[in-house]
């Protein structure tokens, strides 16, 4: 699935989840941020945005009851702007980064709130999106853009599991060796597999108020 398809799908989901009749700018921004997030966190420029504080259930995929929604006029204009931005940088398809860049001059709604809370300006937003886009073209792949093949596989190799948590494979092997993370051996072989759903067992929440390194 193309990243824009994921973003639009999540935007529609956000509108439905909030009981809105139209898919507006806030929904599209949330969809885009969800696509570029890792574990519900978006690191953009010097800002760290926690999707949970923006009322996004970052683990939940679109499903369940589906009331009908349509795009708003503002959404249409945003897509038009994103297409112009894509053209201006010589790219033939609109990506999630073009959509994000198209939010740069928004002063109201969620984007306006992000600007106020984080001290974001139009220029700093565009610069941060451009930097992220260049990381993408150099091989970085946010979780929302993981290949369908990887997304669908329930069992991971130790290398893939380590990559998913962004830790060294030796650390992952230590978790397995010490029993902190359940793992399985393919019958009669040396190969080890980890259930994707078990990866959360080595994560623990940061304690608010306690002095911890972030």
């Amino acid at each position: 699935m193309h990243d824009t398809d994921s973003a639009t799908s999540l935007a529609i989901f956000a509108a439905k989840r909030r009981g809105d009749n139209e898919v507006g700018l806030d929904h599209i921004l949330l969809g885009c941020l969800r696509v570029i997030s890792r574990f519900g966190i978006v690191t953009l420029g010097s800002w760290t945005l926690d999707l949970e504080t923006l009322d996004v259930d970052w683990l939940r995929q679109p499903e369940g009851p589906r009331p009908k929604v349509a795009y708003s006029q503002e959404a249409v204009e945003l897509f038009d702007r994103a297409a112009q931005i894509a053209k201006s940088v010589g790219e033939s398809r609109i990506s999630v980064y073009h959509l994000l860049a198209a939010f740069a001059n928004e002063e109201v709604g969620l984007m306006g709130e992000l600007k106020r809370v984080h001290g974001i300006t139009s220029a700093s937003w565009r610069a941060a999106v451009a930097e992220l886009n260049s990381e993408r073209t150099n091989g970085f792949k946010p979780e929302g853009l993981a290949s369908e093949e990887t997304k669908l596989r329930e069992y991971l190799t130790p290398e893939e599991a380590a990559q998913t948590l962004s830790i060294h494979v030796q650390t992952m092997r230590a978790y397995i060796r010490t029993g902190r993370l359940p793992a399985f051996r393919i019958a009669g072989e040396r190969a080890i597999r980890i259930l994707r759903a078990d990866l959360g067992k080595v994560l623990e929440p940061l304690e608010v108020g306690k002095k911890e390194e972030c």
Partner: protein
Amino acid sequence: MSFFVVKRDLPGVTAEVLQSAGIRAKSCCAEMTGEGQPVRWIRSFYLPETAQTHCYFEAQSKSAVEEANQRAHIPFTQIVEVIEMTPEMV
């Protein structure tokens, strides 16, 4: 499933506006399909001389195609059922 052509008059339209509309059409078709009302945007042709666009969709009914276009916020002048014919069929 039947085929339909959606005719649009879009004087002065740019390639970017068409691309923007394409993304919206694609996402609305996917959403309606997920809702249990399958609609598929097949392809579109822009006729520069007349500033018209002919967009082909596959769906169970004309109303489904109409709804997909309304949700995508893309104007149209007419939706007509079409009979498919390819060189392989004759």
